[in-house]
Symmetry: C2
Subunit: 371 residues, 2 copies
């Protein structure tokens, strides 16, 4: 175990539902509250356990919605009240991470924050820690530092980070500047990037001084910045906070941190990257989930669910069982079966991305009770 | 509506569970107790409604297991006590139909019985009635008469009846003798039969004088015959029946009526056939069920279940819903999804025949609670 990094504070935005994993993920049971790897604990808990050695357990803030507060606190009994940042309603990632930065910066002006999604899967503790340690060193130099994932396939599901020249930073032998941020590419482009090796996946990990991050928001999204400052000013004053939150929160600009911070910072040469040589998966859909749980063998049928009773014959793909029902699967390939108390999904890996469309259709057709 | 046929008695063996339709059909909810066509009533009730105009409602006997007595009587409130023939345990069709023949023959020596499965689907009332009327006329001449179904495809799922020469019988213009009975053929042979047109599907319908049927059993299965006679002798004597049933029932030879009666009768020129020009389906597996409910269009997704909540996209096959769950189906072709309270089946039309194997596997692995 490493010593905690003195000036480092971890931030976990725990907001997204993960609609493409419906009916497993849903409003009252978002993706980060599930065990998607059979580890026996939730992704949120995994994230906490990964960060606590780096920051210390008293220096992890969780940004989450009111609806999930109880569940989050159940998962993380060590989480101090001070470290729970409640969102009145979701306003996207720049608001969530920016608010954490603003609050922590008032408390501790020199603090370096690192934000890490609550619902990604990472394997390789030591490599992860080494990457974060390097990123913190780079952040101390005033950069906004990302951790990019060297691609293991030409994925069209992620944004890419194009690495620029090396950055000479003590304690960060792998540091490089970022030339630019790229949106999810088409397959041909993804293949190019994959061959090039100077492109890395954007895994949504940002490490920087809180004040540097806020400066970037101030430059690019001045209205959002003003709102965040107003909120931060009263945040630690219980009596004053309520009315300000009620007034300001609904006005916060809804924008992803990639657009509000990372892209413009890259253009101005203020973005750096450290390669993350650990296994990383955002478990974006059931195809990813199947892959993650099939031991890498495409002909396997992965089974997820502590009490799963599955009888399979000549089948591959994944069965997610949240009920005690016997599930019999015969002669279906690359199948995705998700069995929950009130909803059942049957599709294939190939169509896994279309699950989000179902969620939209259920809303539109008045069947939102199962979302 | 025709006048009931005076000397005719209908017999409905309601025994088989229909394992290939698991988890829809099961020990406590056999196939004949399901609505498989969306008609709003069970196959057993459909069978009754089809036969009652031909025999009169007081002249239909149902042979069923003790476990299903209550359900059968709920479905058929008109069914008189006298017409319930309870099996202590299943001993196959020769015993079931033979016992009905023996009991009815004692009550009414000249009676003509017609046995019709409780769980087949027939469409075309007038054609069905015409076939039965002809078959009864043939039976009066001392033949055992079947109703054969002219094939609409080269099926390997049924046995075949090879038609011989015409039989000159008054009131039965389509009567023919049967040259032989054939087991389920391979595909090549089925194609030959299909082209030949003198082969018909064996739909398990037998119409004959009760004493003629019993004579055939006596010749071919003398031990079974002796047991049936012993049972019939005491059947209508409530006090005497019990001990005889307990002693004799377990000794009855287990054999299908096809082997005990139809095949040997055909060899001896005692079997006749009337073509049934109605739509007939034994709904042998989920592939048949899908076809039956898809309006004949292979690209359709058939949905069965009064309270089904199915959201489908680019899918075909069948969804059978017995729960109130939302079922979402995306991009799966020829799929079979059967959703019940305690068991879920996912397979394809192609593998529908393998469902029986699952039932066997569940028994072997101690999960018989869902059978």
């Amino acid at each position: 175990m490493p010593e905690p990094i003195e000036d480092f504070y971890a931030v976990i935005p725990a907001g997204g539902i993960g609609s493409r994993l419906w009916p497993l993920s849903r409003a009252d049971a978002p993706k980060f509250l599930h065990d998607l790897t059979g580890s026996g604990q939730t992704l949120l808990r995994d994230t906490w356990d990964r960060l606590a050695p780096l920051s210390g357990p008293d220096r992890i803030a969780v940004v989450t919605g009111r609806a999930h507060r109880a569940a989050v606190e159940r998962e993380l009994p060590e989480l101090a009240d001070l470290n729970v940042i409640l969102e009145s309603e979701p306003r996207d990632s720049a608001a969530a991470i920016g608010l954490a930065a603003a609050i922590l910066s008032r408390r501790e002006p020199e603090v370096i924050i690192g934000s890490f999604a609550a619902d990604h899967v990472i394997r390789g503790t030591r490599t992860f820690e080494f990457a974060v340690q390097q990123a913190v060193a780079v952040a101390r130099e005033g950069y906004i530092c990302t951790i990019g994932i060297p691609p293991t396939e030409p994925s069209v599901g992620f944004g890419y980070i194009k690495k620029g020249g090396e950055l000479p930073v003590d304690g960060a032998p792998e540091a490089a500047s970022v030339e630019r941020f790229v949106e999810k590419p088409d397959l041909e482009t993804a293949r190019e990037y994959y061959g090039d090796r100077s492109y890395m996946w954007n895994a949504g990990m940002f490490i920087s001084r809180a004040d540097v991050l806020l400066g970037e928001i101030a430059e690019n999204q001045p209205e959002l910045y003003a709102g965040l400052m107003e909120l931060a000013e009263v945040w630690d004053d219980r009596d004053a906070r309520g009315p300000v939150v009620d007034r300001v929160w609904p006005t916060l600009t809804k924008i992803a941190i990639d657009y509000a911070v990372a892209e413009p910072a890259a253009e101005k040469g203020r973005l750096a990257v450290i390669p993350g040589h650990f296994d990383w998966d955002d478990v974006g859909d059931f195809a990813s989930l199947a892959k993650l749980n099939s031991g890498g063998r495409k002909e396997n049928l992965a089974i997820l669910g502590a009490n799963a009773r599955v009888l399979a014959d000549a089948s591959s793909g994944i069965v997610v069982s949240q009920t005690a029902r016997v599930i019999s699967v015969i002669g279906v390939k690359d199948i995705v079966i998700v069995d929950t108390a009130d909803a059942l999904l049957v599709t294939t890996s190939e169509h896994a991305q279309r699950v989000k469309g179902v969620v939209d259709a259920l809303k539109l057709t008045g069947r939102g009770d199962v979302l």
